[in-house]
């Protein structure tokens, strides 16, 4: 059973900074801006997804790497956390 609290944009910003080296204000992640617009390229996003998987004990599908926006990714992670047994 997952006891993790939901992923927040603040936590995601920290992970993006650590994994992809891109410093973002959490508010920027709450918009519809694409990862590409925010300066996170495909390899960077891959690293973020793997970090999320390891940190939260999840397995995300390859759809995670194809998320266009932070909002999509946060929702995907939190729905996995919510349904984890």
């Amino acid at each position: 059973m997952s006891t993790e609290s939901p992923l927040s944009v603040e936590q995601l910003a920290t992970i993006i900074k650590e994994s992809a080296g891109v410093g973002l204000d959490p508010s920027a992640l709450a918009t519809d801006s694409s990862f590409e617009d925010l300066g996170v390229d495909s390899l960077g996003l891959l690293g973020v997804v793997v970090k999320l998987e390891n940190q939260y004990g999840l397995t995300l599908s390859t759809a995670a790497e194809q998320c266009q926006t932070a909002g999509e990714l946060v929702e995907m992670v939190n729905s996995k956390l919510g349904t984890a047994v």
Partner: protein, 407 residues
């Protein structure tokens, strides 16, 4: 005129992180070889290195590039920026396809790789990051410099140890002939950051095991016992004379000739014939007589058989003698960065008209006019830079004073 103009230069050496401080140290024959500080070497038979003090990559390189690169690429990125600035070149104002990039490496991202391999074996494949594939390999520096500065001309990497940058200038000459007038040529190495890096070098069997920093790396000395590794490198902007003239660029030196030979894998040819051929070839391309050469920046490996071979090659080409110097004895042999740093020293030697000394070395038993002790006043109009790689390459580069640039 077959030469190319060096219009920008930047050096990152253990003896100086910019050309001025590097030249001051080089002129003084300063030795900065000391104990390796990044990790514990007590289990190793060697303990010394030439380290760059105070290089803060995060101050000059953006985070998104830092996470995906090893320190050897940080050196290249930083030096490339400075070389472009020194050349008064802003790639964003130029046709990007007119500038190529060639950054040499010999070890690649060893420290980055060691960290990722440790993750693999300790925690499993899921803990290996996505950047391992692009951070470790030798072409990372070329690729990242190209991407970061938007340089879209022909790009390449040479992985032949110290020969790399000299051969890189040869490649720039050929690339210019084929229609790309500008190139960023350089090399940088980070061989002192991880136990794995040092273990690989110890395995080569050529590192000095002497623990006294002033006695360990003594090229052409009777006490020569091997070399000490150094870190860092240099980057240069090189372009056709026409290109330099058209934009009224300052020409710092002229690349007048290059040649390279191969004499067998993983050994220094004891006859020195391969190196001799390379020297003669470079002089021929430069249309330069041996009598016109004012200084030889020697390879100076510090391994007795290699020193003897190099001395023989030099004696064969210069029977009347020629001043020889090995500044790297003061800061270590930096593999792909070594000849880059030598080219920087040669360029400065031409500019200032002074020959720097070989640090720590006293009297040489070889019949060589080795400059030791104090720097020697010139004139210095023509400099020859030599480099040999462990892969068996022998390379020579002839540099002329910019006053000798003609079309």
């Amino acid at each position: 005129m077959t030469g190319l103009a060096i219009t920008g230069a930047a050096v990152l050496a253990p003896t100086g992180g910019d050309l001025d401080s590097f030249w001051a140290s080089t002129l003084a024959g300063r030795s900065v070889i000391g104990p390796v500080t990044k990790f514990d070497t007590s289990e190793f038979p060697v303990s010394l290195g030439g380290e760059i003090p105070d290089f803060d990559a995060s101050a000059v390189i953006e985070g998104r590039f830092l996470v995906q690169t090893d320190r050897f690429t940080h050196f290249a990125l930083a030096a490339a920026d400075r070389a472009l600035t020194d050349a008064d070149l802003d790639p964003s104002t130029l046709d990007p396809y007119q500038i190529g990039v060639l950054m040499c490496s010999y070890g690649g991202g060893v420290e980055f790789g060691q960290r990722e391999i440790e993750q693999l074996w300790r925690n499993g494949p899921r803990y290996v990051g996505p950047y391992q594939s692009i951070a470790w390999f030798y072409a990372a520096s070329t690729g990242q410099v190209s991407i970061r500065r938007g340089l879209k001309g022909p790009c390449a990497v040479l992985v032949n140890d110290e020969s790399g940058v000299l051969d890189g200038f040869g490649q720039a000459i050929r690339t210019a002939r084929r229609g790309t007038p500008m190139m960023l040529v350089g090399g940088a190495e980070a061989p002192l950051d991880s136990p794995f890096a040092l273990a690989c070098q110890v395995g080569g069997g050529l590192l000095s095991k002497v623990s006294d920093p002033t006695e360990a790396y003594l090229p052409f000395d009777a006490r020569a016992s091997g070399y000490v590794p150094g870190e860092g490198g240099a980057v240069f902007t090189v372009e056709t004379i026409d290109s330099a003239r058209d934009r009224a660029a300052r020409i710092r030196a002229v690349v007048a000739g290059h040649a390279s030979t191969f004499s067998g894998l993983l050994a220094f040819d004891p006859t020195g014939e391969g190196l001799e051929r390379a020297i003669r070839g470079a002089l021929a391309v430069a249309e330069c007589d041996p009598a016109d050469v004012d200084v030889v920046f020697a390879d100076g490996v510090g391994v007795p058989a290699a020193d003897a071979a190099e001395a023989r090659a030099i004696q064969q080409v210069f029977p009347e003698g020629v001043p020889v110097t090995v500044p790297k004895a003061g800061f270590g042999r930096a593999y792909a960065g070594a000849s880059a740093i030598d080219v920087a020293a040669a360029l400065l030697s031409l500019e200032h008209g002074v020959i720097p000394p070989t640090p720590n070395v006293g009297v040489t038993p070889y019949d060589l006019d080795l400059v030791t002790g104090a720097a020697r006043p010139g004139p210095v109009r023509v400099a020859l830079v030599l480099a040999r790689g462990f892969g068996g390459t022998n390379s020579a580069l002839v540099l002329r004073h910019p006053d000798q640039a003609t079309t």
